[in-house]
């Protein structure tokens, strides 16, 4: 922070009046690249590579007051500069991709665990790089406003976004609600896990639980905070907890939150579209439990603790053992104690 302040101060003293926020060193680059908006270059692939830099946009960006052109364009130190043999615009983006890591090493390292990097490694040129999400010259704070995050992802993941924006979370985001999750809250921003492997699904109790166990947050919506504890105390939660974090492939035994509630299409359970709406439950359970019939969903107590009213049979069995186990144990221990006491007395 202090470094940034220092830089800002330095800029304030040294800045040329024409571009108040941009360091004076930029002058020579912007002399060419800042004046003609149509400046471009033909690439062998047939595309036009725009070479114009919007000074105002760069000036307002987070880097506007601290980076010089050559900080990122490290090979463009003299004039005239050679053009590398780029075939397409994507080649240019890929070539400059690693420039960000000089400063943003921590986030760069995180991306190495992400699915986008894994795809890029396999030669997929479309896999998102830093600038695809953050932009290049006009980089702003990524989550200002928060709705921007999901918009950014939708550039590539349009289908998913269209589903998400109709969900209970997505609708609220659109209305400016800051409580609900955007893409990166569940998927992470840099170390985006591959959801297809199933590992993400096993972690949903933690992911969803971050908000759904927060009493202050849930109170605003009249939602229960024991959804995670009731899940973990039951069979699905047990199996999922023991499986998560295990290396190697294993059959997924247990449903996570999203397996029943949906992923991007989560709705309130009272919404007819919800997969956990009563009338949809047989179908939802049937995804894993082949042959599930009308009464099968009752096997799951819908996040309720057993009570005389909600599930009298379970409640009774539980009470029976709560009484029986201590009674039996105390009886046996008392008898053993008396027996040993008699043995000692007889001696």
């Amino acid at each position: 922070m202090s470094k940034r302040m220092l830089l800002a101060l330095a800029v304030a003293f040294l800045a040329a009046p024409a571009w108040a926020e941009i360091p004076a060193e930029q002058d020579s680059c912007l002399g060419c690249h800042g004046s003609d908006p149509s400046m471009s270059m033909d690439l062998p692939g047939g595309e036009k590579l725009p070479l114009h830099v919007d000074q105002a946009a760069f000036g307002k960006s987070v880097h506007g007051d601290m980076l010089r052109c050559t900080d990122c364009h490290t090979d463009k130190t003299d004039y005239p500069h050679d053009s590398k043999p780029f075939k397409t615009r994507r080649d240019v983006t890929v070539a400059y991709y690693e420039q960000c890591k000089k400063c943003h090493f921590a986030n760069y390292t995180k991306t190495l665990d992400g699915v986008h990097f894994q795809l890029a490694q396999k030669g997929n040129q479309q896999a998102a790089l830093c600038v695809d999400c953050h932009g290049s010259h006009a980089i702003g704070r990524p989550a200002e406003p928060r709705t921007r995050v999901s918009q950014t992802c939708s550039n590539c993941h349009k289908q998913v976004f269209d589903v998400y924006k109709e969900s209970v979370h997505g609708k609220a985001v659109t209305q400016g609600n800051g409580d609900v999750p955007v893409c990166t809250d569940c998927h992470h921003a840099h170390d985006v896990a591959d959801p297809r492997a199933g590992a993400l699904s096993l972690r949903t109790a933690d992911i969803c639980g971050r908000c759904h166990t927060d009493p202050k947050l849930m109170k605003r919506y009249g939602l229960s905070t024991n959804v995670v504890s009731s899940y973990l105390s039951d069979f699905h939660g047990m199996a999922a907890s023991l499986q998560k974090g295990k290396k190697g492939k294993s059959d997924r035994l247990a449903a996570g939150c999203t397996d029943c509630h949906g992923v991007h299409d989560i709705q309130k359970p009272s919404d007819p579209r919800s997969s956990v709406m009563k009338s949809n439950l047989v179908k939802t359970c049937g995804k894993c439990h082949a042959g599930a019939t009308a009464d099968f969903p009752k096997a799951w107590m819908s996040h309720y603790e057993p009570s005389l009213k909600k599930s009298p049979l379970v409640w009774t069995v539980q009470l029976f053992y709560y009484v029986l186990i201590p009674f039996i144990l105390v009886s046996l221990l008392v008898q053993i104690a008396l027996h040993l006491w008699r043995v000692v007395v007889n001696r």
Partner: protein, 237 residues
């Protein structure tokens, strides 16, 4: 009082036949297997449980091992009941495990003896009231465990036969009955078969089939009298 180590002066009687010894051994191993793979599932958040499950090959494997032992238990119980029925119907042996009024009187007398209100404990026949209690607890417990275990193994099938609420109820029953069985065995059976002053450190008769005449006189005088074809002489000792 001492038993000759080379058998001199001590005569032995056959208490358990080969089939009963094998049955006990199978049940014992099976019980250990069920407890080792069942309790960690009940207490899965504990570190020892996660360590055990991890070392047994993960939750998936543990569940299959548990089911295997469960099916062994099912077979053992069916075989036991079938043999017992056949033996009783053929009148070769009496229904020596049947609980009768005498057992309640024995229990009262023995407890009074422990409290110093009687001079002698009750004299027992082939099985005393404690053994009968343990046997019937185990049998009822086994039936509960097998039925609830099968329910948890085939929940969709069970929900077709009855209300779906049976399944969480079966889980509660399986989990608690299993814990109770474990506690009863570790406390009661270990005391009676190992720490009991009469048998310490180890009552081997269920493994060797043999029991000394002296122990019979002390622990099962009524049965001994019957075997030897005489009237039981008062109370034990």
């Amino acid at each position: 009082m001492s038993e000759g180590s080379n058998g001199v002066g001590t005569s032995y009687l056959l208490r358990f036949g080969p089939a009963q010894r094998v049955e006990h051994f199978v049940t014992m191993v099976d019980f250990v297997g069920l407890v080792a793979t069942g309790l960690p599932q009940k207490f899965y958040t504990a570190r020892w449980a996660q360590w055990l499950i991890g070392n047994l090959g993960g939750i998936d494997t543990v569940r299959w091992i548990h089911r295997f032992f469960g099916i062994v238990l099912l077979v053992a119980v069916v075989v036991h009941l079938a043999t017992a029925f056949r033996a009783i119907l053929s009148r070769k042996v009496g229904f020596t495990m049947a609980v009768n009024k005498r057992d309640f009187n024995d229990a009262v007398q023995t407890l009074r003896y422990y409290l110093g209100l009687e001079d002698h404990p009750a004299a027992f026949d082939r099985y005393d009231y404690k053994q009968k209690w343990e046997y019937w607890s185990l049998m009822i417990g086994n039936v509960i465990m097998i039925l609830s275990g099968l329910t948890l193994m085939y929940p969709a099938f069970v929900a077709r036969l009855g209300p779906g609420e049976i399944i969480p109820a079966a889980k509660v029953a399986h989990s608690n009955e299993g814990l109770m069985a474990f506690l009863v065995i570790t406390i009661w059976h270990i005391f009676n078969a190992h720490l009991h002053p009469d048998v310490f450190p180890f009552d081997a008769s269920i493994f060797t089939g043999q029991i000394s005449r002296e122990r019979m006189e002390h622990e099962h005088p009524l049965e001994l009298a019957r075997i030897e074809g005489r009237e039981p002489g008062g109370h034990g000792h």
